[in-house]
């Protein structure tokens, strides 16, 4: 890992064409995130936090501006390069879990390794380890519909972590969970953070955001506030 920020975003702009109208989702975001930070990105709906999330997650490319990840500029990368970055550097955790419904927990966790070209045996071993890390060692062969919401999200976290990414990127990770389960998942996040994982989490719930050490609030496609919390 190079010294300096893990994520550096400068003047990040994203416009969408909706018929004749141009929607300015991001109007020039400047943001730096260091290794081992746990950052919550907040803001009301339409503030651009999902768009920022997609940019940071390399799912989408900016209209203008620069995005440096780990000292590499990714804002002008092609599709396949971005796919590689997503595979190696980023672990996603989604609100709706986004597991493959017909595949076992183990196979779901294996997926990033498959695309990384890790061979069969090693892959199974690493996937199993990741599942054990989130406390699902005994549920590996269950399908998503045989698991509770919290367990599904744990599978998703295991999947996000299995390639040892630079960032764990969570988009409303507790949005579909009850409050007890939400706390549990946040516990997992805290634990990961303690072990050095960089986490960027989009949420609109203030009590969830409190688990993070830094809160970035967006408003109308711009950074509205950026506050560090006292170390808990």
């Amino acid at each position: 890992m190079t010294a300096g920020p893990l994520i550096r975003v400068e003047g990040l702009t994203r416009e969408y064409q909706m018929g004749a109208e141009t929607v300015h989702a991001l109007r020039g975001i400047d943001l730096e995130i260091d290794p081992n930070e746990f950052v919550a990105i907040m803001g009301p709906s339409g503030s651009g936090k999902s768009t920022l999330m997609n940019m940071v997650g390399c799912l989408d490319s900016p209209t203008a501006g620069e995005y440096w990840l780990n000292g590499v500029e990714v804002s002008d990368m092609g599709d396949d390069e971005l796919a590689r970055v997503r595979n190696r550097e980023i672990g996603f955790v989604f609100q709706t879990f986004n597991l493959l419904p017909r595949a076992s927990a183990l196979h779901n966790v294996e997926l990033p390794l498959i695309y990384a070209g890790v061979s069969g045996k090693d892959r199974k071993l690493r996937a199993a380890k990741a599942l054990e890390r989130v406390g699902l060692g005994d549920r590996m062969h269950h399908r998503p519909n045989e698991l509770s919401g919290g367990q599904r999200q744990r599978v998703a976290i295991a999947r996000g972590l299995v390639n040892a990414p630079s960032i764990l990127l969570a988009d409303e990770p507790t949005g579909n969970l009850d409050s007890t389960t939400s706390e549990e998942i946040m516990g997992v996040f805290q634990e990961l953070h303690v072990h050095g994982q960089t986490i960027v989490m989009v949420t609109h719930e203030a009590n969830i955001a409190e688990h993070a050490h830094r809160a970035v609030t967006l408003l109308d496609g711009l950074v509205h506030s950026d506050t560090m919390r006292e170390a808990a």
């Binding site: 997609n54 997650g57 799912l59 989408d60 599709d79 396949d80 796919a83 590689r84 997503r86 595979n87 190696r88 996603f92 989604f94 986004n98 597991l99 493959l100 017909r102 997926l111 990033p112 498959i114 695309y115 990384a116 070209g117 061979s119 999947r159 390639n163």
Partner: protein, 413 residues
């Protein structure tokens, strides 16, 4: 994603959606089934025709001099028939002159034929081929004598009432009794059985063992032909070159005997198994020409069906594609996944088609006289066609899947 992984995934998807997969491969399945079954049967017919049919009826390096062709293939027009019926018959003298005039080493025999009843001790065998021949017949036909002996040249020349019978006739008349030396009645004429010919099996379901051969000059001659007339002179040479010479000799001798001018057509027939095989070759050719057309129609239909199913699959699995992309699948990974899936689907369909085609060929073989011979090339072609159709049909859906935008795909419901 490694190739093996892609196939495993494809098989799993196909297996979990058995019903849909089944329907989607019907076109390919039918096409390949058809290919295998038809090729097997045609190939079987082919070997049957060349190895058995033509040679059993006419023999290798053998020609027959007749009034008109015995083995008629295809449509014969009325005029042709009328012309044939007006032709003079082959007389004893014709046969003798031709045989004597052939310039190469050869075997020869006369043959005259009719159907009739053979009786022994109250048992009656109907519809027996009664054949008046000369002694050379046994060797030309390549018959093994199972019991007794063929009749001798002396018996043939003297026209003695001796007969050599086929296995089935022997069984019918005598059962467990030894047929040799017993007296049967052929068309009420007493004949002594001197030999039984080893079973010749059957041809197109018709037994080849229901016959009685007797000297052409024996009393039977009244029933098989008008006086001093034969149906055919059979001539067998040692090789094809000699056969050509012998046929040319026969042709010129007959033409001069009948005083035909060079402009006139021959009013007799010199036929070999070649003519028959040529005709079969034509049928075979037509079948083999029509086959690709028929097969490709069902494959094109099958391909279109698969393409539609794959387009549906891409639409249904947009979210899955989004998820895979977010986890690092590149365009080519997605492209490959769907291409492999569609190719695997088609190959599975082709595989089932091959199995069904083989089964059909086996059933045809078992239940009819038609033989089936599996052509290995047709199996290879079946698999390749299946895979090819699958890839061709999967190309468009797969490229659509590969080009999906991950952000939109992952939000897709």
């Amino acid at each position: 994603m490694p190739f093996r992984e892609a196939i495993r995934l494809a098989l799993r998807v196909i297996w979990t959606q058995k019903m849909k997969s089944g329907f989607s491969v019907i076109g390919v399945f039918i096409g390949v089934t058809f290919l295998i079954a038809v090729v097997s049967i045609v190939e079987g017919m082919n070997s049957y025709m060349t190895e058995r049919f033509a040679n059993t009826l006419l023999g290798v390096n053998t020609f027959q001099l007749r009034r008109y062709p015995d083995l008629r293939v295809g449509d014969i027009s009325r005029e042709t028939w009328r012309e044939w019926r007006r032709r003079p018959r082959i007389s004893y003298d014709d046969a003798r002159a031709v045989e004597a005039g052939i310039s190469v080493e050869h075997l020869w025999a006369w043959e005259s034929w009719n159907r009739g009843i053979v009786e022994y001790d109250g048992r009656v065998a109907r519809d027996i081929n009664l054949i008046g021949v000369t002694e050379g017949y046994f060797e030309i036909k390549n018959w093994e004598i199972a019991e007794g002996r063929p009749f001798s040249p002396q018996e043939a020349r003297a026209g003695l009432p001796v007969t050599v019978i086929g296995q089935e006739l022997a069984d019918r008349l005598f059962g467990d009794l030894d047929p040799i030396g017993r007296e049967v009645r052929i068309r009420r004429i007493p004949y002594r059985v001197v030999g039984v010919v080893e079973s010749q099996g059957n041809l197109f379901g018709i037994s080849l063992d229901k016959f009685a051969v007797a000297p052409a000059l024996s009393p039977l001659k009244r029933y098989v032909n008008p006086p001093r007339i034969v149906d055919a002179l059979l001539v067998k040479t040692n090789n094809v070159a000699d056969l050509q010479t012998a046929m040319a000799d026969a042709e010129s001798i007959m033409r001069s005997r009948r005083a035909l001018r060079p402009t006139q057509d021959s009013n007799f027939s010199v036929e070999t198994s070649e003519a028959l095989l040529d005709f079969w070759g034509k049928i075979n050719g037509v079948l083999m020409m029509a086959l690709p057309g028929l097969v490709s129609i069902s494959l094109v239909v099958g391909g279109i069906v698969i393409m539609n199913i794959m387009l549906m699959a891409v639409a249904e699995r947009t979210r899955e594609i989004g998820i895979r992309k977010s986890l690092g699948a590149r365009r080519r990974d997605i492209l490959r996944q769907f291409l492999v899936e569609s190719a695997t689907l088609a190959v599975v369909g082709a595989g089932i088609g091959i199995a069904t085609g083989l089964a059909m060929a086996a059933v045809v073989q078992a239940t009819t006289f038609l033989p089936a011979r599996v052509a290995p090339w047709s199996i290879v072609v079946g698999v390749l066609l299946g895979g090819g159709v699958g890839i061709a049909a999967g190309l468009y859906p797969a490229s659509r899947a590969a080009r999906l935008d991950p952000v939109e795909a992952i939000r897709h419901e």
